[in-house]
Symmetry: C2
Subunit: 283 residues, 2 copies
């Protein structure tokens, strides 16, 4: 396969970040510390995987990536707000993220609560800017369902409430809701913005959901390599399976993700290469 | 005037609460504590002033109140999430609200952060259920603008950052954003859902904004009657004006609010009576 995933990701990341940063309150906007802290949270982001998946899904559905740009930014803003709140002292109590101080460590707890709140609001404001007015109600509804009390927040609640020995049930629940729900929403939103049929949205759902599960298993495997003895206990699939089983599980879900791409009308090479690349990190 | 405001408010409150509670996760929905805590936050609500304004605005614009019911619930969910987060230890550190334990006091800080987050998400999910698909993008955009980093959250940031002697500038800023922005959005959303023209949306904006300012002045006047010496200092307009001046200010903004109702095509008696009733509490 001659597809150059690395260049693709670099280019897409730059496009996403340009749109994302343009939508943030400008530096100095009153209240100045709020604008600064929101920018700090968003600018020090990572690989922009979810928005890139959103854009690629629009193309896989036969639409244009541009039509999904606001949806892509909305998904990333939503993801970023959850990180800002997850880092709070009352949650994971993390002071560093990607080598930078977390929002609460730099600006205080109250500001971090408000920055997270404002980023969630901005996610929906951004989503409502999607050019296709006809698609907007569904985009808002689907992102809200994925992000809300039966989605990402449900996963986070069970994650923080977990104590003792993890069971397969709780691992499945947290993987599904805390991680896979937003991956699935990312590709579905891209598909909806790109004009996908219901049938093709189902294919995208299968891809996104399986990729989300695979992503979390792979994350657990990579974390295990770096973990030190004094790390706090985390909900990891390695509590209920061996590393070898986890690798097989990641491979199986990746295979299922990529199988779902077969029937899509548009270009799916990026989605397939991305899933394969994630898997390769633990193989 | 023979309009019976008390019966009107009682009936509207019952309608709003029926719709509001029906949209919450049912008791026992997994994660059970999240559903319970969300219900606790919403059920122990107050007068439901903002959603009632939203419904009345739809009628004032010549539309039907029913068309604005999801918008009304969205505004109340939005307002409720801000209260849940405002009560947190890192913000106002309040353990009681309307005689009930606050969410963090009953369920812990982490849960209160997540309950607030989930209520904000639910606000947008609910708004996207508005029957008029054509109105939805604008409804989402306007609620997000009013609630976000240049609206309610901006007001809250300046409120918590305030130290020392309040100036007229900061009082105006916090009154406008923390309070009036959501009052204005409530009536605008009602107007949009009810099919208001741009001109009539401007009338509704003037009403809602002035009512919001009046509401906050009146709130400060009522608080001053109950305040005890050991209360923490709050940003109150009585720091920059006498009680008599504040009453005159409340009266002037109420008069301006009600003057804006004159040109609306629908029934405005409820909106006018409501503004007058709020004012009468300090006259």
């Amino acid at each position: 396969m001659s597809f150059d995933l690395k260049s693709y990701l670099t280019e897409r990341k730059a496009q996403v970040e340009a749109a994302l940063f343009a939508g943030l309150p400008m530096e100095g906007t009153r209240p100045a510390e709020l604008s600064e802290a929101m920018r700090h949270a968003v600018v020090s982001g990572g690989k922009r995987l979810r928005p890139i998946l959103c854009l690629a899904a629009a193309e896989a559905a036969g639409g244009k990536a541009d039509d999904a740009m606001y949806a892509a930014c909305a998904v990333e803003l939503l993801h970023t707000y959850t990180l800002v709140h997850d880092d709070l002292p009352c949650m994971d109590n993390d002071t560093l993220r990607r080598g930078q101080p977390t929002v609460w460590a730099k600006y205080g707890e109250a500001m971090a609560v408000l920055v997270g709140d404002a980023l969630q609001t901005l996610a929906f404001e951004t989503l409502a800017r999607t050019p296709s007015l006809a698609a907007t109600p569904r985009l808002v509804s689907e992102l809200a369902k994925a992000a809300g009390a039966s989605g990402v927040i449900a996963g986070q609640v069970e994650d923080i409430q977990f104590a003792g020995s993890p069971t397969r049930d709780i691992i499945n629940y947290v993987f599904q809701h805390k991680t896979a729900d937003l991956f699935r929403a990312a590709v579905r939103l891209g598909g909806i913005a790109g004009g996908a049929s219901e049938k093709n949205l189902e294919h995208l759902s299968l891809y996104g959901n399986n990729l989300g599960i695979a992503f979390q298993i792979i994350d657990d495997l990579l974390d295990a390599r770096q973990a030190s003895a004094d790390d706090k206990p985390e909900l990891t699939c390695l509590a209920i399976m061996s590393e070898e089983e986890a690798r097989a599980y990641a491979k199986a879900t990746t295979t299922e993700a990529n199988a779902a791409l077969k029937n899509l009308p548009g270009e799916t090479v990026a989605l397939a290469a991305l899933a394969q690349e994630l898997l390769s990190r633990v193989m």
